[in-house]
Amino acid sequence: MSTVTSTSAAEPVVDYAEAVQTYDPVMGLEVHVELNTATKMFCACATGFGAEPNTQVCPVCLGLPGALPVVNAIGVDSAIRIGLALNCEIATWCRFARKNYFYPDMPKNFQTSQYDEPIAFNGYLDVELEDGSNFRVNIERAHMEEDTGKSLHIGGANGRIHGADHSLVDYNRAGIPLVEIVTKPIVGAGDRAPQVARAYVAALRDLLKALGVSDVRMEQGSLRCDANLSLRPKASEGQDQNDVPLGTRTETKNVNSLRSVERAIRYEITRHAAVLNSGASIVQETRHWQEDTGVTTSGRVKSDADDYRYFPEPDLLPVAPTREHVEELRATLPEPPADRRRRLQSDWGYSDLEMRDVMNAGAVELIEESVAAGATPSGARKWWMGELARRASAEGRELADFGVTPAHIAQLDGMVGSGRLNDSMARQVLEGVLSGEGSPETVADAQGLRLVDDEGALSAAVDAVIEANPVVADKVREGKVAAAGALIGQVMKEMKGQADAAKVREMILTKLGGS
């Protein structure tokens, strides 16, 4: 049986550096990905996100008496492609199984899943860390299952069931195909464990996106991560760390952004360490990540008493993909991410450091799309990795979520390239785009931003500044070219910034006979 407790009091934690000094973290990551098939896993209902509650339902996904499931063949193909992309073996024969437990948002009170016969198993995913090193995450299995409905608790605090007046259930999500990807225990990450977790989920997200099997929108729940963590003592002198037995784990649910993955693991490391330091034991339990407070809270106590009474689903036939079919699917796989990264770096002419920054910021695809839309690779990098990346990092948001599109960046870069805008004007335009004022052209037009290309006006402004600053002008004439800077600044001020500084410099030096 399960008990629900609600702990709101902050639990003690220790300093992160101290925690990883004393303990070796071991992680296990379970990622649920909603497939983007047109129909559900076992019926013909639509799967679109955001539809009116209970409008995408039928006797099958509502679990009406007498209804029977039929497997979505495209869902199976997607699962096989995910398995192949994760370097897994693909089962020659496997079955669905029923996972039995009672919950109001699960129409049949069992979830059709896979148990000891997953469609894909024994794979790995290589992920690149911030310092450019590679970390291999081994994959235990990837299996197919169906999603549950969604409960909405009305009248309680924070939409939680505790204290709610009543609950509403939306079954639109019930039966949407899921693939659950489970890692083997991730050992050897040490103090980089939170970073490894984040990098793994990010790499997995990119891979799934490249496969085209899912929308991978973490904020919409189409990619969900459960993070298991345990700590064990650091190996003593001469002892192999792998010989130190694993500690008790906790499973943290509701980890719904890349940043949260990193933070949740980090928090749990500090919490586990505090518990262990105090001489107490970790309770094996499910914990919930609280995005707002940055802590995990205790959920259901898991124990060996959890018994889902799995048995092979008798309403479905075994899934037995032929080797020919598996090879056909293998042929549809996109370029492996590492190969793709090397290719793009070479195409774009980025340094290793530049490429790594771009990857860490999650900007590879945005830059790729910007370049495709006409931006120069260096321009695309400059604009995405400047103010936008700074904001994304400071606010913990995704680069793509600011309303700036690759088409915008291509347009902006083009305006600089054609000499219409200078850098500072372009930055001003980007601000406008960020504030939702429209495309770069619209913003530039509205704000009247345009470099002055009237030679006469510029020449007159230069003459006036030279005349007003005879001492500085003389220094330049004497060959102190650096002194021209002060004059350039004044001309730019005169021109309200709407001049090409390089051109102004050239004109001053010509007029003063320098250079």
Partner: protein, 511 residues
């Protein structure tokens, strides 16, 4: 004239309809009248669908008048077991938990019945969720055997068998998980077929045990069963376990009724000790009649059948415990609030509703199944039962190397008295000892009347089993045996059943 209509076979009724000697409305009304007359004492129906049936009949008559090409059974009324979903018509599976539930969709077989123009007379009584051999586990009270109203009509599909045996319907739909079509047929003197697993769609059958359930015909003749089998059989993409092949040539086989040169295997383990003397005697006569008709008899042994009942009572409850989990009061069906609990949780409402809505036999099997699937017990119980199932399939495979069909008595005894075994689950379970192996192996089986037991004058049944997908052999052998028996009896067995007191009679008696 109308009383005659209810006595004739579905095939004859279909002929008369197609020759426009009678209308579908007349045929349907005659059966509705018969239901009104006798079902007060038989209690075969949980719901009579007067208006819906007549509407279908009127439609058939209109289309026939317009010269449309109609299905051979168009206008022939039918009764449907209450475990099959019927859009707009209550479907309870004999359970309090589904009392009043009106499905929003038709089972595939109902869609086929409607498309063929068979008026649906109503929904027939059954043991709750098809768990039982007597209809005594129906939440709405038992049905009665037309041969003796004090006795059970078999189960779980006793309502369908009783309706057909008492001329309330020429045809009925049953479902058979361990004998629920064949055992009621045997004890009511009717014909019932459990087709090959996957031969008839299960979409819309409220599942008892998914790997065992199969719907099939309940009729008064082998040819009628074949005609109905052909309507409901065939591939359905909504049922993943459905066989993607044409319906076996059952009608042709029933019409040919030829057993010359066929090898009939008598199963050593299904007979002898534990079988009533009259049942055995009628079985031996049936075998002899087939020999007289040109068949050859061989004895076959199926040693693993000994474990069939035990394996069945692990597999069935295991699957049922999961299949019945959906009845949780959240989306449909009975909802009961727990007593003395303020602000009950969803789980508490589920528990209270399931406690109030399920009968004892259902609870017994849910508990058995939950236990059998529990971690630590799974291998010993469910796992072992699945191995037995494999052994039983092998027994069938080797038996079918020696014989074209197998035969046995359908049930060990004739109909027992209502109340006699209801408190002894094991005794109740033993009724299905001869029928269960076919479900475990997925092979087709038929029961047809073999006569009356000398000691109690009640009907006995003989069971024919064929290899998977060879359903036509049941009909060939069944029709041949039926012809020989009718020749011997000088008429159908049911013509020897006592006349039921009708409502009109009882009015006269009272007057």
């Amino acid at each position: 004239v109308t009383s005659d209509i209810t006595r004739i076979s579905a095939a004859d009724l279909a002929d008369r309809l197609s020759r426009k000697e009678i209308s579908a409305v007349e045929a349907t009304q005659a059966h509705l009248d018969r239901i009104a007359d006798v079902d007060g004492s038989v209690k075969a129906f949980l719901k009579v669908n007067d208006e819906g049936a007549l509407e279908t009949a009127r439609d058939v008559d209109r289309r026939r008048a317009a010269g449309e090409d109609l299905h051979v059974l168009a206008g022939v009324p039918i009764a449907v077991k209450d475990i099959v979903t019927t859009k707009g018509l209550t479907t309870t599976a004999g359970s309090r938990i589904l009392e009043g539930w009106i499905p929003p969709y038709d089972a595939t077989i109902v869609t086929k019945l409607r498309a063929a123009g068979l008026p649906i007379l109503g929904k027939t009584n059954m043991d709750e969720f098809a768990m039982g051999s007597s209809t005594e586990h129906s939440a709405f009270g038992p049905s009665h055997n037309p041969w003796d109203l004090e006795r059970i009509p078999g189960g779980s599909g006793g309502g369908s068998a009783a309706a057909v045996a008492s001329y309330q319907a020429p045809l009925a739909i049953g479902t058979d998980t361990g004998g629920s079509i064949r055992q009621p047929a045997a004890v009511t003197g009717t014909v019932g077929t459990k087709p090959t697993y996957g031969g008839v769609s299960r979409y819309g059958l409220i599942a008892l045990a998914s790997s065992l359930d199969q719907a099939g015909p309940v009729t008064r003749s082998v040819l009628d069963a074949a005609l109905l089998h052909a309507v409901i059989g065939g591939y359905d993409r909504m049922d993943s376990t459905s066989i993607n092949a044409p319906v076996p040539p059952v009608i042709e086989a029933a019409r040919r009724a030829d057993v010359k040169g066929m090898r009939i295997g008598v199963v050593k383990e299904l007979g002898g000790e534990g079988y009533q003397a009259g049942v055995r005697a009628r079985f031996e006569e049936s075998v002899q009649l087939l020999v007289d008709a040109g068949a050859e008899v061989v004895e076959v042994s199926c040693p693993s059948f000994e474990y069939a009942l035990a394996a069945y009572y692990l597999i069935l409850p295991a699957e049922a415990s999961s299949n019945l989990a959906k009845f949780d009061a959240m989306r449909y069906g009975l909802r009961v609030l727990p007593e003395g609990v303020d602000d009950p949780s969803a789980e508490q409402v589920m528990a209270a509703s399931r406690d109030a809505g399920f009968g004892d036999e259902v609870k017994r099997r849910i508990i058995l199944g939950t236990y059998a699937l529990s971690s630590g017990y799974y291998d010993a119980y469910y796992g072992s039962a699945q191995k037995v199932r494999t052994l039983i399939s092998r027994d069938f495979a080797s038996a079918f190397e020696k014989a074209d069909v197998l035969m046995s008595p359908t049930t060990p005894t004739t109909a027992f008295k209502i109340g006699e075994k209801v408190h002894d689950p094991l005794a109740m379970y033993l009724n299905d000892i001869a029928t269960i192996p076919a479900n475990l192996a997925g092979v087709p089986g038929m029961s047809l009347p073999s006569g009356l037991a000398d000691e109690d004058g009640l009907p006995t049944g003989v069971q024919i089993l064929a290899p998977a997908t060879k359903d036509e052999r049941l009909y060939g052998v069944g029709a041949a045996l039926e012809a020989a028996l009718i020749a011997r009896w000088g008429g159908p067995l049911l013509s020897r059943a006592p006349e039921l007191l009708t409502t009109a009679d009882s009015r006269e008696v009272r007057a």
